[in-house]
């Protein structure tokens, strides 16, 4: 799924996002995303139960007034863990996507400006990187090198930069051939002046949309990694890890699986509706 999103991201975004309209889907998505982000920040200050406190007399219980979402296999409060559970994934995905965007932007604009052979070679390399199955690489890196956040962030950024680079390049080329840019170039503006002054403002919207999409794929990739036991370390409350830890007991109590699933899904859906150009088109 994550690879799929990474690779199928198309240039469609170029044609449509510029005429994107605010729409109730988008505002709903925005509200969900905002809620998630705020929650991630304030969770430690909420009057929640201790996320690591264990109750040996209340293991795998259903919802109750003491534990709103029941307890997990170590008798920990699922409600508190669910609210905390977005912090590692959102933080890590955000850091990775910022780094990926930076990399992608540098590579994309550089290729677009340089043009010719340099451009060709860079895009070839880019395509090759795009062909590498990202989850396989993540598994290998996490298994052999380690699962420290920094290692994962860098790996994710390298794996998810190519689609951004490709988009930035196409968008930049579009901008670079426009009259006002050609004029600026004729005035003798340097390449980097062009990038900062002309290209950047014009492709911002497009790139932000793509970055938001990549954010969701990174989020899911990290959750998959946690699910396979190579992402977040216990006892960290993290959605993917929570699902992995509790899925054996799903037929005894579904809460510890269902709650993080709903959180993960709403966040991803929220980001998608916020930026989704198809949903916008479809409704007009």
């Amino acid at each position: 799924m994550t690879d799929l999103g990474r690779v199928t991201g198309d240039d469609e975004v170029l044609h449509t996002s510029t005429r994107r309209r605010r729409h109730r889907w988008a505002s709903l998505g925005g509200a969900i995303v905002a809620a998630h982000v705020v929650l991630a920040f304030v969770a430690p200050y909420l009057p929640l139960q201790d996320v690591s406190e264990q109750h040996s007399d209340a293991v795998l219980q259903g919802a109750s007034s003491a534990h709103w979402f029941g307890t997990d296999n170590l008798g920990r409060d699922v409600f508190a863990r669910t609210l905390w559970g977005g912090r590692p994934s959102i933080g890590l995905a955000a850091a990775s996507v910022v780094l990926a965007a930076l990399l992608g932007f540098l590579i994309g604009t550089f290729a677009a400006i340089a043009g010719g052979g340099v451009d060709k070679v860079m895009m070839r390399v880019n395509d090759v990187l795009l062909a590498v199955p990202s989850l396989l690489v993540l598994l290998l890196v996490a298994s052999f090198i380690g699962r420290e956040p920094l290692v994962l962030i860098v790996t994710l950024a390298v794996m998810y930069a190519p689609p951004i680079a490709r988009l930035v390049r196409t968008a930049s080329l579009n901008v670079l051939t426009r009259d006002f840019v050609v004029a600026a170039r004729l005035r003798g503006a340097s390449r980097w002046e062009l990038v900062v002054g002309e290209v950047l403002p014009n492709i911002r919207g497009v790139v932000l949309t793509e970055v938001a999409m990549q954010f969701t794929w990174i989020l899911l990739a990290f959750s998959s990694l946690s699910f396979l036991g190579l992402g977040a370390s216990p006892p960290t409350p993290e959605w993917g890890l929570m699902i992995a830890e509790s899925r054996t007991y799903m037929s005894i109590t579904a809460w510890p699986v269902a709650a993080p699933v709903v959180m993960l899904a709403t966040l991803v859906l929220g980001v998608n509706s916020l930026v989704d150009r198809n949903g916008v088109d479809g409704a007009t």
Binding site: M1, T2, D3, L4, G5, V7, T8, D10, E12, H15, T16, R124, D127, V128, L130, A131, V132, P133, L135, L136, L139, L140, S143, F144, I145, T216, L220, S223, S224, F227, L228, G240, I243, A244, R247, M250, S251, A254, V257, V261, L264, A265, V268, L269, N272, S273, D276, R277, N278, G279, D281, G282, A283, T284
Partner: protein, 319 residues
């Protein structure tokens, strides 16, 4: 430049690219800490035994020599030997490749036709309640992680209404007849994801094409909508969708780790996860290269199909 010549040139480039990637992958796998012998001996590893094992399996040769050796073997269809599993890599991979192909095939058959038809439908009827529902549903399907889809399907079809087997309890060399009954849950899980991606790309492609002048022109000429759709919109809208289908097909073959683990399906994905956790370097190398090859091949094929489908290319205008 004729199409054939172009294809040949691109094939050569793809092949070179693959060779370069193969070398890089070999070195990368070499650079990973631990080797086949430490993994084989595990808790019983002593200096003495490690040395003996490395000697027996030629791990003491220089890296370059082993890489050349491996490359020469690979060209002749010998992908090396898994010390951990005590079997030639090709022998381990072959039955699982078949299983993964069957799984991908079933998932593809479930997803692709439906995705094309419904994508077209939702584009044509955009704004209607059904189309909106379809859009929202596909968005949900696309964004749910496989382990979630799998869990839901499991609960519904194996626990509440026990009509489908929960997991595959099969050897990798079971006959296809034995595999098919247990393939449904993993196949549906994959199909859900694939369907959503292809449908959405089909849909946006049809929407974009419908707005193009030549389609408008066809409409103004008074052609019936169905004819416009089949003769003008579809041919122009298919290439981008085919692109996505090719990528998805490649993913179905190489990206199914989670689904195969969850359903215990004896395919390449589970093998890869096992190989990584066993540090079976020979197998990891072969599987990584396989993944690369599939992606390079799929982009080559989709490229070719796009070119063949593209009316401008067919007309010999060149691209």
């Amino acid at each position: 430049m004729s199409i054939a010549w172009q294809l040949l040139r691109r094939a050569a480039v793809a092949l070179l690219l693959f060779a370069a990637m193969a070398c890089l992958t070999f070195l990368a796998v070499e650079a990973l800490p631990g080797d086949a012998c430490t993994s084989l001996l595990g808790r019983a590893a002593t200096e003495n035994k490690l040395e003996q094992c490395r000697e027996e399996n030629g791990l003491n040769e220089p890296v370059v020599a082993r890489m050349v050796d491996w490359g020469c073997g690979a060209v002749q269809g010998d992908l090396g030997y898994s010390i951990k599993r005590d079997a030639p890599v090709t022998e381990i991979i072959a039955p699982r490749l078949r299983n993964s192909l069957v799984l991908a095939g079933v998932a593809g058959l479930l997803a692709f036709p439906a995705a094309v038809v419904l994508g077209l439908y939702s584009a044509q009827r955009r704004g209607s309640r059904r189309a909106k529902l379809l859009d929202t549903a596909s968005l949900v399907m696309m964004t749910l992680p496989e382990f979630v889809t799998a869990a839901v399907l499991w609960l519904v079809f194996s626990i509440w209404l026990p009509i489908l087997p929960a997991v595959a309890v099969l050897p990798s060399d079971a006959t296809i007849g034995e595999i098919l009954p247990t393939i449904w849950l993993p196949a549906i899980t994959l199909a859900v994801m694939v369907f959503a991606h292809v449908m959405r790309s089909m849909r946006s492609s049809v929407v974009a094409t419908s707005a193009r002048p030549f389609v408008e022109a066809a409409r103004y000429r008074g052609l019936p909508e169905r004819a416009v759709l089949l003769r003008h919109v579809l041919p122009a809208a298919l290439p981008p969708a085919v692109n996505v289908m090719a990528v998805t097909a490649a993913w179905l073959l190489t990206g199914t780790f989670v689904v195969e683990v969850v359903f215990n399906f004896p395919g390449l994905g589970r093998l890869a996860v096992d190989a990584i956790s066993d540090r079976d370097t020979a197998l990891i190398l072969a599987l990584t290269l396989f993944g690369l090859a599939v992606f390079i091949l799929s982009s080559f094929i989709s490229d070719t199909i796009t070119r063949l489908l593209d009316p401008r290319v067919r007309a010999g205008v060149g691209a």
